[in-house]
Symmetry: C2
Subunit: 442 residues, 2 copies
Amino acid sequence: MHKVLSYLGLGSNEGDRERNLRTAIERLGQTPGIRVLRTSALRESTLVGEGPKQDPFLNGVVEIETTQSAAALLAVCKALEAAAGRALPAKKNHPRPLDLDLLLYGDLRIDTRDLVVPHPELLARVFVLEPLLELGLSEELLRERCAIERPCLLTAQSELSAKCSEWLEGGCLVGLVPTMGALHQGHASLFERARRECDRIVATIFVNPLQFGPKEDLAAYPRDLPGDLRICAAAGVDAVFAPSPGEMYGDGFCSTVAVGREAETMEGALRPGHFQGVATVVARLFALARPHRAYFGQKDAQQVAVIRRLVKDLGFPLRLVECPTVREPDGLAMSSRNVYLDAADRRAAGVISLALRTAQEAFRGGERDRDAIVRAAVAVIAAEPRAQLDYLELRSDGDLLPQPAGAVSGGRLVTAVRFGAARVVRLLDNMPLVENSESSQS
Amino acid sequence: MHKVLSYLGLGSNEGDRERNLRTAIERLGQTPGIRVLRTSALRESTLVGEGPKQDPFLNGVVEIETTQSAAALLAVCKALEAAAGRALPAKKNHPRPLDLDLLLYGDLRIDTRDLVVPHPELLARVFVLEPLLELGLSEELLRERCAIERPCLLTAQSELSAKCSEWLEGGCLVGLVPTMGALHQGHASLFERARRECDRIVATIFVNPLQFGPKEDLAAYPRDLPGDLRICAAAGVDAVFAPSPGEMYGDGFCSTVAVGREAETMEGALRPGHFQGVATVVARLFALARPHRAYFGQKDAQQVAVIRRLVKDLGFPLRLVECPTVREPDGLAMSSRNVYLDAADRRAAGVISLALRTAQEAFRGGERDRDAIVRAAVAVIAAEPRAQLDYLELRSDGDLLPQPAGAVSGGRLVTAVRFGAARVVRLLDNMPLVENSESSQS
């Protein structure tokens, strides 16, 4: 059986600290498949991070030789912590009689839900680093082993699949956030939501040529990978997949994924092929990454409806998470295309959300007639000479299908408005009709 | 920490058998997170299954209470086996100083690559069952816990996704064999190949309405779920997914997946929409099941080319495995539609493979002209008055794209031939042009 050299970090700041550590080391040595080779000197440290006032820790590192898998070693550590009287589930940064961490396991890198090796804080924690150096490991070696890029940048589709497979098989809940880059606070809000809900999150950055028409702004679409990577890093994104168009659509690519009903009207009617391009790239990303959750902004409401249909119809086993639109102070929905607006158009563009809020107020004031509600919004946009309305419709919420004329009980206002003369900028927005004001921005 | 009552089976037939078992039980009790509660009497048994002549086993069962996970318990068992001097990797059914099996772990069912609990042979092995009864477990309870349907029949898409997720996260290599049922030896050969290569295999049985044209044989297509399940059981299929059309295409289904080039000619030209139906259902099955490998028969060569393109273009991280055509004694390729043939047509249908072999022989005899090779095959079919040729083409092998006229260095002959007057039966076949005779049937 293969023998692996491994290092465990031990700590205690409750009860008889030294006895707790010595007992743990002794019981480690009695465990089948584990041989304790050496133990560092024990030393004191104070709590890292915020927590209640507590005694200093006594820390050390043991070097073991083991035939156990890393996962089995972790289970042994948990059992020893429990045997030492550690309360479970452990409260973060509270005093504990025993804390055991798997620091290194041969030269293996492990990235699973319950175990990351080398330990992510290995270099940052003096009470771990010093004992390892004492046991003869070189700082250079440790720095090399622990050099982990975050987010890790993936450009090949095979890298994306392999990384996500590792996470999936390691029990991680994986979240995917597909974007076209030029990231702003709206995207950041998707990353933050994904970060709260998932064990690992991957952002994709790809300006998808399939979803641009021949006269559209594919070439001009803003691109800023270094800036995007900084935003991803700040939001705690684990991996960024940023492929080239050739990587996505090379080698005789000739397949299409299309959605019917949800993709037929509004953007689908004005931008032929657009949603087919969206459905194709999103299906491809879902197939490659196999995420448990996928995050999209509600700002592109029809896109969300199309993708919801795609997920249902093709059976991708994932949860689609729609996130509220993030707005500028004047109410303009954040969009990568807002940078196209000149100063005057930018000032005028606040009219879109004003129009939607006006219709919303009419609804709250008791107006229930579909066309009257729509007229209230259209009138606001018509009053702004820089704005040209493509459409403004009151659709059912969720699937965004047309509602019959007459009385409505709710729904969602969906609009596209053009600005600019030399260069046309199309801006999308939408707002639900709701009685209370809580979700008026979603 | 949650405490679980678990049962381990112990066996030894090498060295001091009793000492081996007693030592293992003692070391189990010293392991963190494990408390040995009771041990059954030890008893002798002889080897189950084939193996070299060897001494009888001494067996027993221990009851433990543990805070360890089932996977960690398994690791402890492996470490104890190694510590007892068991050679690794262990040879199947060879003498061993110690054999430890996790029989039960609370009432948990586990179905992973390395661990299946309750132990699949629990009821079949007297030397395990008797000690469990001795320790007070009722036979009724054991029968209930171990009642595992095989293959397990899944009808809801959510069941398929959940079962495959369990396998994926349990480290299993999962193979998918999509079929339309009416299973024959051709399908069985796919199952056997998948069984050899994968940890878990799932067959799907679904007569996919999307791939039938309005005048085609959807209603008449043969269906025999009980017979199919028997074939799956005999081939060691782990799960069968047999959904209703409503389960697959209910609730406003309106999405399509389509492949370009590979789907345009031959079957694609004669059966409009056929390959779109195939691509849609296969993409859906891949999305739901997320297999590592998918098995298809070479008999439907263009279908394989279309699916290979689909896998590449959408990025499904799986390996497509093409399996050789299985033939009747007269050379007719096995097909569920062969049952449609009346006796005279059935006798005549051998002409298809005869025609392909004739062209193959011409190639082996030195003929290299594309059209001359095709003419050699067409002449054979033309001589059979019951056969009507839809097409017979010499395509490039693999992607089945057209080859220019003139000299060829190889390729694949692909044909569709109709039989029957009142009821038309279209039969497909294909054969590679190869110099040696080894793969002439593939």
